[in-house]
Amino acid sequence: MSTIAEFKIPYSQFLDHKGEVVQPLPEFAQDSKILIPLYRAMVEKRTFDSKAIALQRTGRMGTYASSLGQEAVGVGIGAAMKADDVLVPSYREYGAQFWRGVKMREVLLYWSGDERSNNYECQKTDLPICVTIGAHAGHAVGVAYALKLRNKNQAAVCTIGDGATSKGDFYEAINAAGVWKLPLVYVVSNNKFAISIRYEQQTAAQTIAQKAIAAGFSGEQIDGNDVIAVRQAVDQALQKARRGDGPTLIEAMTYRLSDHTTADDASRYRTQEELSQHWVFEPISRLRKYLTELKVWGKNEEDALIKECAAKVQREVDEYLNTPPQDPSGMFDHLYETLPSAFEDQREELRKKGRVHA
């Protein structure tokens, strides 16, 4: 027997959970003017998150998927991407979506069950979230292929969950991305759960990063609760993509501190103790500690930020709650570019009937 191929999966982290620097920081992270916006974005997202849950609990919004504890992944991605890159998001990466111009009120409207929410006012190109887990991994291949055809030095980022990596869609996508060396970065948020299914029930692979080996390109694991590591890894992968050196799979290790959604009760399948243990590693406090130690952040800044975030979220909630309802006939307005005459009478019927209240 001889050895015909060998592989290594690297791991990286810059700021550990105590806020201590464990390896030399990348250049951007030496500039607190860059770090502070990352911190702010994470806090803002978390503020949004609790408000959204409150709206759901008080019957003013439908099922909501919180991303409590996973803030660094979304924010790190958002910060690393250029405006004209394309994001193909999963549903927990609000941090990335907000950074790229999606409005909080749009996300709220979405979870209230209103299609108009995906017609983002300030983000015209990114795909909306994909509810059928993993399917968008393939959509991202098309997006990246289009970018490659157009040769514009742009790249795509696709975010997905650990559970999603069990879908065939995902593997068909990464395999093809490898063949065509697409400008495409997959970021897997490994939050250890797919609803109640734990990582060990999901796959026997020691890491998700190594799944890239099946597709012939490189995979790496990072501390997904370290926003510096996320931003750095995504940035490097995007540069590689732009150079024409193909796709990268980044496994961001994080943890879902919330229930799966507001329709879920995680206490059925995990203990309070396990949950508490993971709070230690959450992404926000470590960065605060670090910034505080750098003396670029303090109680004043923190208090001001909390107020700002609360005010911003409240404005967005108000906008959301004041959104006028859609006429039911709207379900035909964007079914086709021009509604075929065969369906005109159905739209007409709905127009006449008006809204049915639940």
Binding site: G113, I195, S196, I197, Q201, P328, L350
Partner: protein, 326 residues
């Protein structure tokens, strides 16, 4: 006897059959420790062990595919697809393999397997959680498509589906999961497949439906009765194979037929029933066959789903028009 709701009836049937037939197993996403997102498999893992109540990875294609392999090996899998919108990735295996293994091997191997999935809207769920895909399955030769409309029927039909020697797609109306309760004796008695059930006798019009819409249809029938219109109400229950005889007999009596389903109209299963009437019942028809259906639009998100699903009023209006037709 305590009354139970539809999802509890499903659970009761599963437990009964797993208790009495060691070759039956359940598989799907989150069906183990979590008891299923709707709790249809609650307690089964504790009772029958994690090997027979199998939490799968997030892999719908695998769930369908491995059910095929299991059933060729004489294990009887009851697979859960978490929501109907995720069933479509399974069509490949259902159409190309589950439905054909018996014919392909001339009986040497077969696929007695059940795929359970919630179906239909009305619970304010996210996108892809409210689909009504029965017509697509009804087009597939070699399988059965069964849809219960009450806790009692869910229990009896699910037992029948599990015991059936051929593949069964078992669509559970999400909207009915917790809508009402019935006494459901846990006696292991299966209901007959392949037959329509006449739920209410009537003389003026035949009202045909299945699944969750049976609820609106029955309310409509009672209301219509107060205005002197007596509807005969038929619950199709087994969509495929279709017991057209029962429907034709009823229409021969009433001369009028209104078919109600939640799925989009175009190429929905109502078309098959209406087409049979146009072919085999034409001379008995006193009025156009009316289909009251969901729109030929994408099932909307929560805010508009009530506008999409046929309402009691819409059914009543259609029946009135049909009865008044002369």
């Amino acid at each position: 006897m305590p009354e139970i709701n539809l999802v509890e009836a499903v659970n009761q049937a599963l437990a009964y059959e797993m208790e009495h037939d060691p070759s039956v197993m359940a598989l799907g996403e989150d069906i183990g420790v979590n008891g299923g997102v709707f709790r249809a498999t609650l307690g089964l893992r504790e009772r029958f062990g994690q090997d027979r109540v199998l939490d799968t990875p997030l892999s719908e294609v695998l769930i369908g595919a491995m059910s095929i392999g299991l059933s060729t090996m004489k294990i009887r899998p009851v697979a859960e697809i978490q929501f109907s919108g995720f069933l479509y990735s399974n069509l490949d295996n259902i159409i190309n393999h589950a439905s054909r293994m018996r014919n392909r091997t001339q009986g040497r191997l077969s696929c007695p397997m059940v795929i359970r999935s919630p179906s239909g809207g009305g619970i304010h769920a996210p996108e892809h959680h409210s689909e009504s895909p029965e017509a697509m399955f009804a087009h597939v030769p070699g399988i059965r498509v069964v849809i219960p409309s009450s806790p009692l029927r869910a229990y009896g039909l699910l037992l029948a589906a599990i015991r059936d020697p051929d593949p069964v797609i078992f669509l559970e109306p999400t909207r009915l999961y917790r809508l009402f309760k019935q006494e459901v004796p846990d006696n292991g008695k299966a209901e007959l497949l392949d037959v329509c059930l006449t739920i209410r006798e009537g003389t003026d019009v035949t009202l045909v439906s299945w699944g969750a819409m049976m609820n609106e249809v029955q309310i409509a029938a009672e209301t219509l009765s107060t205005e002197g219109i007596e509807a005969e109400v038929i619950d199709v229950a087994t969509i495929k194979p279709l017991d057209m005889e029962t429907i034709l007999k009823s229409v021969a009596k009433t001369g009028r037929c209104v078919i109600v389903h939640e799925a989009p109209r175009c190429a929905g299963f109502g078309a098959e029933i209406a087409a049979n009437l146009a072919e085999h019942g034409l001379l008995t028809l006193f009025a156009p066959v009316c289909r009251v259906t969901g729109y030929d639009a994408v099932m909307p998100l929560a805010k508009l789903e009530k506008s999409y699903i046929p309402s009691v009023e819409k059914i009543i209006k259609a029946v009135r028009k049909t009865v008044q037709f002369a």
